[in-house]
Symmetry: C2
Subunit: 327 residues, 2 copies
């Protein structure tokens, strides 16, 4: 229920610390911690910024006490205090932002009730680990948590299978712990249904911290590697390669350009969709003379989707549009 | 071919600017720009940090000249200069990191050839846009670029369909431009095969910049909204909700806890996998007496995967493990 007697000035700042080293704190993250009267966080994160906490009330919590952290933040803010709730990485990614809003809504808070809530973004583990291994995230990617403490396994398995099939770069969060050792084995099993056993994998532990460790391996061998609570596992897509100790996913320039000369392939144009981009590909469906079932099998897309496209006439030539930036 | 006469000191720093406001630059990003002799980037990003560039060589490029930017960075670094190649967001996410490595490898560069390459991570658009709308990324999420300039449409379509089916939160990058207007329509079509028309969607433009604009809509109506080159589209999963102007994806606490009392549901334990986590769910498969085909249909998982699990005996009771943090 809303509390109309809330002292003014209370606020909650959900701070993403990034990887945790001071060099990778944003100016706003650092300022938010400085502004705070109270700082609440998992003990490991508190330790990362211990030198910034002089004179502040510090509340250290253990790993599974996320809801408690949110509740204490709200209680302090209702008393008029400025509270920094800290997360490693980005507070929105498997972090404190979601649980905090759930607790706040449950307690009757609204954005107008006198307590301001600010989320300060930071680089998540997938970005920081990627930065250390090269450029694995250059194309479509996803994040999946292997923690089944709050999520049924079939939901996780369905996600793993879908992104393995559709050739995403995949970052596995919470890949393994003392109690949870089977999930990474199942992830490998599901990925091997679709992906080559030699698909590059990077395992990064404690990115940008003293005990940082990077290991390159493959989908086949990753379960033999040292993976723990502080690790992020990055699985490449079917084009990802490792060269000179760097893991790189191509953006696709070779689909359009000859790599050596830099000129476009026949039929392709810089700044324009590929000939197999939406318009060209759709025209190709119509021109093929094939039926929806056959095209669906050929392109590995749902038959009803292909049928819908075939049922729609192609747009007439678009009028010349003004030149504009595109990406 | 490696150039053994490279003057020493040349380096390339791939800097992620985050959303672009100075408050959200990391200390390392700011320091890298300060260290640079030459700063190269798309003209919009150069403008974001114009006040940090006094006395430096500044090279502004247009949107599709990514390979040119990488080539010029390499040429300057070979001449001994410190070069900052800037990207908005995170340099590794659809940014300059991948193209830079591709160009460097093509030119014969190796990490030992005297030119150091550092990637400085930043918060990507998905993190910064999420921070402005609430907490949409609390559960598994992905990023898909709707640009078909370098990627065939069937590849993109297959990815859209897969993550809509598997119930990811989805961030669409490059959703629309003057020339590319059909791809967002196709994304909606594919999503509607799996997801409710009232699925919450947030469209964020120019996050943390003067012309910032946030619009909440639904999957059904999103194609009627103003979407452009500076927009990121965030599509919620089947549990995402919008309340009090905030978009929140639950982490799943209600799977384990009674929301009002905070106590665990019968059969669930704090700090342990759900009863429908991997071990419990696998035991349930065996106990069901059902066949692989039926279980596969029930759980929407591949039949061969279910069959493999049924063929393996369940592990005997694990010995008591020492209590340890888990997430």
């Amino acid at each position: 229920m809303s509390d109309t007697s809330t002292p003014s000035g209370g606020r909650i700042m959900l701070v993403g610390l990034g990887p945790g080293s001071h060099a990778h704190l944003t100016a706003r993250a650092r300022a938010a911690i400085a502004e705070a009267d109270t700082v609440i966080g998992y003990v490991t994160y508190i330790r990362l910024v211990a030198d910034l906490l002089d004179g502040k009330e510090v509340i250290k919590k253990s790993m599974t006490e996320e809801l408690d952290r949110a509740i204490e933040a709200f209680e302090r803010a209702r008393a008029g205090r400025k509270v920094a709730l800290i997360s490693s990485g980005d507070a929105g990614v498997y972090g404190m932002a979601g649980p905090t809003f759930e607790v706040l809504f449950q307690a009757g808070w609204t954005p107008d009730s006198g307590i301001d809530v600010e989320i300060i973004p930071g680089a998540s583990a997938l970005n920081t680990c990627a930065a250390l291994v090269g450029a694995p995230l250059t194309h479509d990617f996803c994040a999946i948590s292997l923690s089944d403490l709050l999520t049924p396994w079939p939901t996780i398995a369905r996600r793993l299978d879908a992104v393995a099939y559709a050739d995403f770069v995949v970052a596995l969060y919470n890949p393994k712990s003392g109690r949870r050792t089977g999930q990474i084995v199942e992830a490998r099993r599901l990925f091997l249904r679709h992906r080559r056993p030699d698909t590059p994998v990077a395992i990064v532990k404690s990115a940008y911290r003293p005990k940082q460790r990077i290991e390159f391996t493959t989908l086949e061998k990753m379960t033999e590697c040292d993976i723990g609570m502080l690790s992020t596992v990055l699985i490449g897509n079917s084009n990802t390669f490792i060269r000179h100790g760097l893991m790189v996913t191509p953006r696709g320039y070779s689909n359009k350009y000859d790599v050596d000369s830099g000129t476009t392939h026949a039929g392709e144009q810089a700044g324009r969709s590929l000939s197999t981009g939406l318009d060209g590909w759709r025209a190709g469906l119509h021109a093929s003379g094939l039926g929806a079932a056959e095209l669906a099998a050929l392109h590995r897309l749902p038959e009803d989707y292909i049928a819908a496209l075939l049922a729609e006439p192609l747009a007439s030539e678009a009028a010349d549009e003004p030149a504009g930036a595109d990406a």
